[in-house]
Subunit: 319 residues, 2 copies
């Protein structure tokens, strides 16, 4: 704690803004570890943020997200943009750390000063985004990234989380990973701004794109609403990446002009404030009551002496 | 509202306990719709609950969860147990309703009075369990079900949710759905009490079971801890179901003797109370502040005038 208390956050932010990758790494660690310096980091970053575009990348395991992310970094770098990548892994069940396996390809970019790559564990949020992700995005934003890619390996909640976080959400699919109905089950049809059929050189890619187009066409969309395009790629060869960058930029332009971008960013900031406030409230009532008291109420519910709503009333009433 | 205010909850609970399926359906609807009668339902149910065993069934799309659930219902009915099924679907992206497709097989049990089946949408919790699920479990428990099966189609967050809700969690896998590493990514290795390799007559089933056994063996488990068995089934033919029922019962016996069951139920009741209390607090600060105030704070964060932690402090301070 003494060591952390000595952290010179102002200097780290200054160095991070000057392009010092180690300072950026340290800032993200402070955020990720919920360091006591977290609040100061947040405070010092805020005036430098709001420039980066946030791109969410999601899809089921095996569709080629890491390869696509890597190919997208290359394509975005070719347009001169500085790129940050946050690869959010579900916690490894055994080590608590991130599984690194398919991050290896990212090493293509290891010597490029215009790229910052970070794997984050999604501790305590299995399959979801870490609560620290929005703050890590702010660090990369403040460090001058024009684009922050947030790649989630999960399906389910993490997709929803990443869509909440991103200006533009890419949903990746690949042939042979399950049919259209399965896609609908996973809930991906409502969150994508751009759909990518990766591994488009494989059997079934055309059919998958057709099925997807059909399902997207069923969605009721208002006049002037964005109609998510479907882009075919072979990420491992870099095929289709220019079209993908173009689709992403087109969505961004639409979102900016239509007011959707401002609306999303407002919602995102509001959700973030609310989440922090609720965490603080929760900590407060654990302080007030302690787990022992909650356990006693829980035991009463189990015994049938009180119901969960009445028990919750008693918790809230004493706040 | 007038109609709902007239709901005679006491009579519904009485009829539900007498085995009236329509009364049970109505009670679950009251719970699911967050009807004004919800609190009274909760209050009147509590003394009749605590008898049912809750069995969670989860796995990736395509592993055969619905078929397995149906086969398990048949096997459990053969042992004379009354069975309730809650099939929790992610919301359909277009209709807001549950996708019914593969529920059709459940109609095998439609005329069996000892089986109660209900599809629930997981509204607002894409890929996760509906907040109403614990209350729906209570309804089925009070209605005299010996066993409540909660089947989730999602992966990711819903698996964690169902594990939190269940006395025993079944994780289903099937050959050809992705390798062991993919399984680890989805985080399933830490939540299963019993693993099921379904479609065990297909190529790759033996290898999948072997890989799974290897990965489970890597987990650090305390002495006396439960070692999750792996059961092979062909649910569509009913093969392996007796062994599955036996493994489930064995886990239940162990959980009861070891104190794990009491611990899980306590944790579950505590989580439920906490979630209801937090929802109430959240509603309270939306009442106090309204969305306009939160929007104003969010706009300040976006403009760089304040950071999210300072904004959250202001929300909490005025409570």
């Amino acid at each position: 704690v003494a060591d952390r208390a000595r952290t010179d956050v102002a200097a780290l932010v200054r160095r991070g803004r000057d392009g010092d990758a180690r300072a950026v790494a340290r800032l993200i660690s402070l955020v990720e570890d919920a360091s006591p310096a977290l609040r100061e980091v947040s405070e010092r970053l805020v005036e430098h943020t709001g420039n980066a575009r946030v791109l969410g990348i999601t899809g089921a395991p095996g569709v080629g997200k890491s390869t696509s992310t890597s190919a997208l970094v290359t394509a975005m770098r070719a347009t001169g943009r500085r790129v940050g990548v946050l690869a959010v892994d579900p916690s490894s069940p055994f080590s608590g750390g991130a599984l690194l396996g398919d991050r290896v390809r990212m090493q293509d970019h290891a010597v490029d000063k215009g790229v910052y790559i970070r794997s984050m564990a999604s501790r305590g949020h299995l399959g979801g985004l870490s609560w620290a992700t929005p703050q890590a995005v702010r660090v990369l934003d403040a460090a001058g990234c024009d684009l922050v890619l947030v790649e989630t390996v999960g399906v389910g909640q993490s997709e929803v989380d990443v869509a909440g976080l991103a200006d533009t959400t890419l949903v990746l699919l690949a042939p042979g990973m399950g049919d259209g109905i399965q896609a609908a089950k996973a809930g991906i049809l409502e969150i994508g701004d751009v759909y990518v059929v990766n591994k488009a050189d494989r059997d079934g890619a055309t059919q998958l794109a057709r099925d997807l187009r059909g399902m997207l066409a069923l969605a009721q969309r208002a006049d002037g609403a964005w109609r998510p395009p479907i882009v075919k790629t072979v990420a491992v060869k870099g095929d289709g990446l220019d079209a993908l960058v173009e689709a992403i930029d087109r969505h961004h332009d639409w979102a900016e002009e239509s007011g959707e971008l401002a609306g999303r960013r407002l919602r995102r900031a509001r959700d973030e404030i609310e989440a922090i406030a609720l965490t603080a409230l929760r900590a407060r009532f654990v302080d007030l009551h302690g787990h022992a008291d909650l356990d006693r109420l829980a035991a009463e519910v189990i015994a049938g002496d009180t119901d969960p709503y009445a028990a919750a009333d008693r918790v809230v009433a004493t706040l």
